[in-house]
């Protein structure tokens, strides 16, 4: 592939080599050095090190980009694992179908969506991505191939969903789509002056709106603490007018900033402007799904704004009843440590169980915060977060992580040993070695 292999947060930087997988009927490349481990690589949209393999070999799956079969009556699609969700949408939306679960970026591969068992802004309604996977083929380093579904090889099915690429390479998968009447979403932004109001809006909106997420101004303090904007929407019904699709290369970050332009002053300015822009406006608008769901894709290479040092995201979920105190506690902690977050997002996870062995989503409040420049101060802050989250009975999302301690990981995911047992003996990742260290 043209370009380097790095994760979205561009931290950590590792040395690894890569080979491209192109044909699903071929076996894995033979490595001359038997000690180097393999790891599948999707589109590098994981923030931390679940898609990195220091000293090992990445199996770049983006060459597995073919569709295999599409049934437009039943809405069942089979395609290779390197196909991007954006490409699936381009194919199925004009035919009246939609992906039931979409993360905040559409530039992830099908394999990556399964391996992290990703969730969207509609978790309460559709659960995780893995719930819509009917079956897939897994290729192991031994050359063995397994078709996995809830009925066939169910342990491998469960282990591979949310399995972080460790059980083998997913070659193709069959997924169930959902019907839509229109490609529009009717959406609105609701301002909330403080955390209390934001939580009320969040929980209230989840009843009547399919897609719900809240942006928090992580710099607002005092009586404004936790102020933010709630974004909510539903798919439009039949007859919603076709909108002119704007060419989606809104803006591109052309170069690496030697010094990150993201700092407290610019973020404060940005946050205030965003908040003020939406403070009054709250009448519902009709937008293309693409604009509503993939706000973050509008700036190509937005991760480079954080400069060469990269950035970290901390993403946790805690039980509903602890939601507000935990979020408040975490925000106050960032102020106390002098490390305010540049971006915070809240979502609600519903009761639908996640199908994967190591899936992250569970009922509760999901909170994600970005932190520029991963220095020792931030690391200490995030360790304190772990204290808050684990005592609330929450967990942290591996797909966003680059720093949690082995003890924290093992406490969050006591079932990790079951995944270890299913792991392909030749597969490993920087993440897995880090969190399973004795």
């Amino acid at each position: 592939m043209v370009g380097r292999y790095e994760s979205w947060g561009r931290y950590p930087r590792v040395r690894q080599s890569a080979v491209r997988l192109i044909w699903r009927h071929l076996s894995l490349p033979v490595s001359r050095d038997p000690h180097r481990s393999y790891l599948p690589f999707g589109n590098g949209r994981s923030y931390g090190d679940t898609c990195l393999n220091d000293g090992g070999i990445l199996l770049d799956a983006r060459g597995l980009d073919r569709f295999i079969a599409f049934d437009p009556e039943e809405g069942v699609l089979r395609c290779e694992a390197g196909v991007l969700l954006s490409q699936i949408l381009d194919l199925v939306v004009p035919k009246g179908w939609f992906l039931p679960v979409l993360p905040g970026t559409k530039f992830v591969t099908l394999g990556g969506a399964i391996a992290s068992d990703v969730h969207g802004k509609n978790h309460s309604r559709e659960g995780t991505f893995g719930r819509h996977v009917r079956r897939f083929e897994l290729l192991r380093s031994s050359g063995e191939r397994r078709i996995c579904s809830p009925g066939e090889n169910p342990d491998w099915f469960r282990g591979t969903i949310g399995g972080l690429g460790l059980t083998g390479v997913i070659l193709w998968a069959e997924i169930a789509l959902r019907r839509i009447q229109s490609q529009n979403v009717i959406s609105e932004a609701v301002p909330a002056p403080n955390l209390e109001r934001l939580f009320e809006q969040l929980l209230d909106s989840s009843r009547n709106f399919e897609y719900v997420a809240a942006w928090i101004d992580c710099l607002a303090r005092g009586e404004n603490l936790g102020r933010g904007l709630l974004f909510r929407g539903n798919h439009a019904g039949a007859g919603s007018p076709a909108l002119q699709r704007k060419s989606r290369r809104g803006f591109r970050v052309p170069l690496d900033f030697p010094v990150s332009p993201v700092n407290e002053v610019t973020v404060r300015l940005f946050n205030t402007l965003v908040y003020l822009a939406h403070e009054k406006l709250s009448s519902p608008t009709v937008t293309d799904y693409d604009v509503f769901l993939f706000e973050l894709d509008r700036i190509e290479g937005s991760n480079r704004l954080y400069g060469p040092g990269g950035f970290l995201q901390y993403h946790c979920v805690v039980p509903l009843e602890c939601g507000k105190p935990v979020v408040e506690g975490m925000l106050r902690l960032t102020f106390r440590q002098g490390m305010p977050s540049s971006l915070g997002v809240l979502k609600v996870f519903g009761a639908l169980p996640s199908p994967g062995l190591l899936s992250f989503p569970r009922p509760g409040i999901s909170f994600a915060l970005d932190f520029p420049s991963p220095g020792p101060k931030v690391m200490r802050l995030l360790e304190e977060f772990d204290g808050i989250v684990s005592s609330a009975g929450g967990v942290v999302y591996p797909a966003k992580d680059a720093r949690m301690a082995p003890a924290a990981f093992k406490a969050y995911y006591p079932q990790w040993e079951a995944l270890e047992a299913l792991r392909d003996p030749k597969f490993s990742s920087t993440f897995w070695r880090r969190v399973t260290k004795e």
């Binding site: 592939m1 043209v2 491209r20 192109i22 044909w23 699903r24 009927h25 073919r66 569709f67 295999i68 079969a69 599409f70 395609c79 194919l91």
Partner: protein, 245 residues
């Protein structure tokens, strides 16, 4: 809708090009030497909207099958509007220097097989009086360099053959397109280090698609290779022979 024959249909550039035609409902006849690969490509193109996709397994050096292949493609698609020849190899220049046998095989894959196919295609398209013959040559054919002159001279043969063919077929309203890609990130070049001049096969495919639709004669893809090659061709041989290229 267009009826297209593609030889070397499993190549990365050919696949990306075929997707653009499939999306508008074209019918395709795909030729390649690996049946499993062909099946994967054919299924993909069907899902992407191709009206009809047929495949045939053949090594491009099986010259005596070429005539039958074209007839078969014509019969199964009910006619041919476009033929795209895309297969090719990346010869090991050093190894060729010590083995004429290898050089001959590489020449067969990159030049003779193309010339054989074009001989039959030219007659068949001249007879029907319309259509496009598109062939992927290379910028490497514009000037011989010590690092890959076996490949380069084979592509030069193809380019010059096409030039003559274009001149001959102009009267019969048959469009002859020479495609000269620069550096493309495909399996053929997997072993090479990649820099800023490299592009993805989709970029080249879009250029091929446009050039077929707008009846271009010769296209450099991306366009800046036209400038690069003009400069390289302008260097006097006296100087050029001293350079390490």
């Amino acid at each position: 809708m267009e009826r297209i024959l593609i030889i070397g249909a499993t190549s990365a550039i050919a696949q990306a090009t075929a997707r653009l035609f499939a999306a508008e409902g074209a019918s395709l006849f795909l030729v390649g030497r690996d049946p499993e690969k062909l099946r994967a490509v054919a299924d993909d193109l069907r899902v992407r909207g191709a009206r009809r996709v047929e495949t045939m397994t053949m090594d491009a050096r099986e010259y005596d099958r070429h005539l039958r292949l074209i007839e078969e493609a014509r019969r199964s698609l009910g006619g041919l509007d476009t033929a795209l020849i895309a297969h090719g190899t990346s010869p090991d220049q050093k190894a060729c220097q010590t083995s004429f046998d290898l050089t001959r095989r590489e020449f067969a894959a990159n030049a003779l097989s193309v010339i054989s196919l074009l001989t039959h295609l030219a007659n068949s398209f001249e007879h029907q009086g319309y259509g496009t013959l598109a062939v992927i040559s290379s910028v490497a054919g514009d000037r011989g360099r010590q690092s890959n002159y076996v490949y380069g001279s084979a592509k030069a043969a193809v380019s010059t053959f096409l030039q003559g063919l274009r001149n001959r077929l102009h009267r019969s309203s048959v469009h002859v397109l020479t495609v000269k890609p620069g550096l493309v990130d495909t399996p053929m070049t997997a072993g090479l280090p990649k820099g800023f001049l490299w592009v993805r096969p989709e970029i080249v495919a879009a250029g091929i698609y446009r050039a077929i639709k707008s009846c271009k004669d010769v296209v450099y893809l991306p366009w800046f290779w036209y400038v690069v090659m003009r400069v390289i061709c302008a260097i006097p041989e006296k100087l050029f022979k001293r350079m390490r290229l």
